[in-house]
Symmetry: C2
Subunit: 322 residues, 2 copies
């Protein structure tokens, strides 16, 4: 029996404003389509994950690659990870600068080094070695992202002034007002292999050098042919504390279906560390889970040539003409 | 019923040469004692973890803090993490330079920021803000570490020449010849709280910017009052791929005792990704697990005023006069 390939993607779980709603939905539809076409042409799970995530990195509506937000110093620092569920090989970059497609650089870490995570200036040095395509900061950052950063830095100063935070310890602004989030994809290919990828520009006005959950195996996602695949999004520090993705694959290995595992794990995360987020999940039978505890999450999946997608809780639109 | 405090520490799992054997054993004994004294005086699990890890960071026999190894560029980049099992709060630093005690900087990330991991120059900027004690590279590096680096870089060049690795993709030297490893501690305090800490200088001649498992929650360790605590050591990339620490706490939450969980998880890691390493583990009843699949691991634990320690497989020496 041949396996039917499946792809599921997300464009980040957060309070997506109406101005970005249509663009986000359109973006995840396009990304799922880009990955699915490769799968139908015999591409591997890793190929399809990379294609889907690249599509969202190149789309300025999402906070990854082009469209990334600015950190407290007004710079862009991006994180990305990719993992192959056949043998758990994986590669990731953290706090890398001026790279057009961090997901492809993460794939180069997986395929061309013995390491799983390379960060900071070391990641940029590696990017140079492998000839990764670069972009100047002004081409990575949208006008919207720059305005948001300016407002947040003003807010940040206001909070510091009002509440008298110690000057030697810079506290981050309230996460509630920090916009944007992560993109990700999980794929099951016709050979029964599972892969996942996640990519992000992080949160606006984050401290330089901050890494959340995204490039961390077991937090920002996980892929194991034996258990399934997960890509996560939401409050990175909360996701890291509970190893959200690994938690979900453990639940599935115990026999839980992907949807119940997604809901169970996000409920656990909220109870244990008061964090919100979203996930897309596949098990090795190609069953799909998706759930979010934020206001909105743009998601899309394709199976049997039918596209499903949504943004608000309860949405499940479909388009059979893929 | 009052809870009896317990501390268990390790000084790294690897092919420890005879020249470092006695120093390693003495070092873990001292570290366990430093943490246990604090616990007896009413200190918290987090306090005791920090004290034990600092003791090993200050000891040049271990590859953490003073005694750290050099990366391919001849620089020291250190990683450390600490986690409080009460509420899963945690803090970590990655690829930080010239810091005397990375474990204390990790604690500052946990207590003074909203983040869980800060890396690279951002971590050094944060260190400056909180006034962390710095040391010049020449005081962090021992003469032995520098000689080892020189030999490895020579070996590295030889391998590249002999086997014709592509000049655009620098491959790391065989991990088998890379020396040194991580230190760590897990504690249960008299209030029933669990904490863990792990600290490392990484592997000799590692690629600049490389982060292994050590500062990653769920890989380099985990602490949850509901499940138990773990600190890991060994081949970092393998440990990260299987989320070794989280795997062990899952097994314990399912009712497995710490020793069986340690052995089961290390066997799984070897079978799935052919990686070796070692772990020290506590459950929330104060039962202890320790296991390693490398040649040696220096370990020590103290409970009821009795110190146990060892280095080779099968060792279990004890000293009742703590």
């Amino acid at each position: 029996m041949s396996i039917k390939p499946v792809i599921v993607v997300h464009g980040g779980a957060w309070a997506i404003p109406d101005s970005l709603a249509e663009g986000s939905v359109q973006g995840v539809r396009l990304a799922a389509g880009a990955g699915y076409r490769l799968l139908k042409a015999g591409g591997s799970a890793v190929d399809a994950v990379e294609a889907a995530v690249r599509s969202m990195e190149d789309n300025p509506v999402f906070d990854a690659g082009v469209g990334s937000v600015l950190n407290a110093d007004g710079e862009v620092e991006m994180d990305a990870v990719i993992m192959d569920g056949r043998d758990l090989r994986s590669g990731a970059v953290g706090c890398v600068q001026n790279i057009k497609n961090p997901i492809s650089l993460a794939r180069a870490v997986m395929e061309k080094t013995d390491h799983t995570l390379i960060v900071g200036k070391g990641a940029n040095k590696f990017a140079e070695e492998v000839g990764a395509v670069t972009l100047p900061t002004e081409e990575l950052v949208t006008e919207t992202a720059r305005r948001e950063w300016e407002q947040l830095m003003k807010y940040h100063t206001t909070v510091t002034t009002l509440f008298g935070a110690r000057s030697d310890v810079q506290k981050e602004p309230d996460p509630v007002v920090q916009g944007h989030d992560t993109v990700g994809a999980v794929v099951l290919d016709a050979q029964g292999n599972i892969a996942f990828g996640t990519s992000t520009g992080g949160i606006t006005a984050k401290r330089p050098g901050r890494i959340g959950d995204s490039p961390i195996i077991g937090a920002g996602g996980y892929a194991d042919n034996a258990g399934g695949g997960v890509s996560t999004t939401g409050h990175g520090e909360s996701i890291a504390k509970v190893c959200l993705a690994k938690h979900i694959t453990h639940l599935m290995e115990g026999g839980m279906d992907p949807q119940t595992a997604s809901e169970t794990a996000l409920t656990f995360m909220f109870k244990r560390v008061q964090g919100s987020g979203g996930v897309v999940v596949l098990n090795n039978c190609g069953n799909i889970g998706k759930h979010f505890t934020t206001e909105r999450m743009a998601w899309a999946w394709i199976k049997d040539g039918v596209l499903h997608y949504g943004l608000n809780p309860g949405d499940d639109f479909n388009d059979p003409n893929i």
